[in-house]
Symmetry: C2
Subunit: 134 residues, 2 copies
């Protein structure tokens, strides 16, 4: 009843503008509704994606891997990774903003390290995963 009403609604919309909305029919209404109620808020989806996005770059993974071995300064990272200082600083800024690394200053030198063991655990899960896929 509610279902056929909605179907009518959908085909109406489809006539107006096929491109505007998802005009698919629901196949498993019950599942869709129960999953919908388990979905988080928009902001949480974006935060979660943004968190993982940081790990999704070769340069940042290299930096994180290095920092998982030892605290390092920017200059050391440049040399290790054979990269321009500004490129390294850019990535460190992102890592800093996401609270994935922390830093301490000692005179002119800034030392970076992993923010907490949480980050190390995420890294290790990823390492495990790709090991298994080989």
């Amino acid at each position: 009843m509610a279902q056929s009403a909605e179907k009518a609604d959908i085909s109406e919309k489809a006539q107006e503008n096929t491109a505007e909305l998802c005009t698919e029919r629901i196949i498993h209404r019950g599942i869709v509704e129960s999953v919908r109620s388990a979905m988080p808020e928009e902001a949480e989806l974006y935060d979660l994606a943004d968190f993982f996005k940081i790990f999704g770059d070769r340069t940042r993974i290299a930096i994180l891997w290095a920092l998982s071995e030892s605290e390092m300064c920017v200059c050391d990272l440049c040399m290790l990774l054979d990269m321009k200082q500004s490129a390294v600083s850019h990535q460190l800024k992102l890592l800093k903003q996401s609270r994935i690394v922390k830093y301490r200053r000692e005179g002119k030198v800034v030392y970076y390290s992993l923010d907490d063991d949480h980050i190390r655990r995420v890294l290790n899960l990823g390492r495990q995963h790709i090991q298994e896929q080989r």
Copy 2:
């Protein structure tokens, strides 16, 4: 000796072309060398980054969150996420290629689900992390 030779070499290059190489001085040679020996191969860095990259998108996170609740077909996902079917299929293809989701066909309908508990653990670690940051 080797060191001063290298320095001379670097400043020479710097004169020719400042942009060519990392011209920074090494501050902590010992650390750089020991970390260098702990770094993985290039391919492993890329694989790890590619793995996390998949989680670094709102749409894919939404799909994964949904699939962590229940197996779903493409059509259901379209309705749940209010997205075009082709957009959903494109993302499912990426998830499939990375072996993050698996699928089974039942007639015309294709059901997707998380590939293994590994994926669920990665997701949950991420969820925990952003919870703590709030």
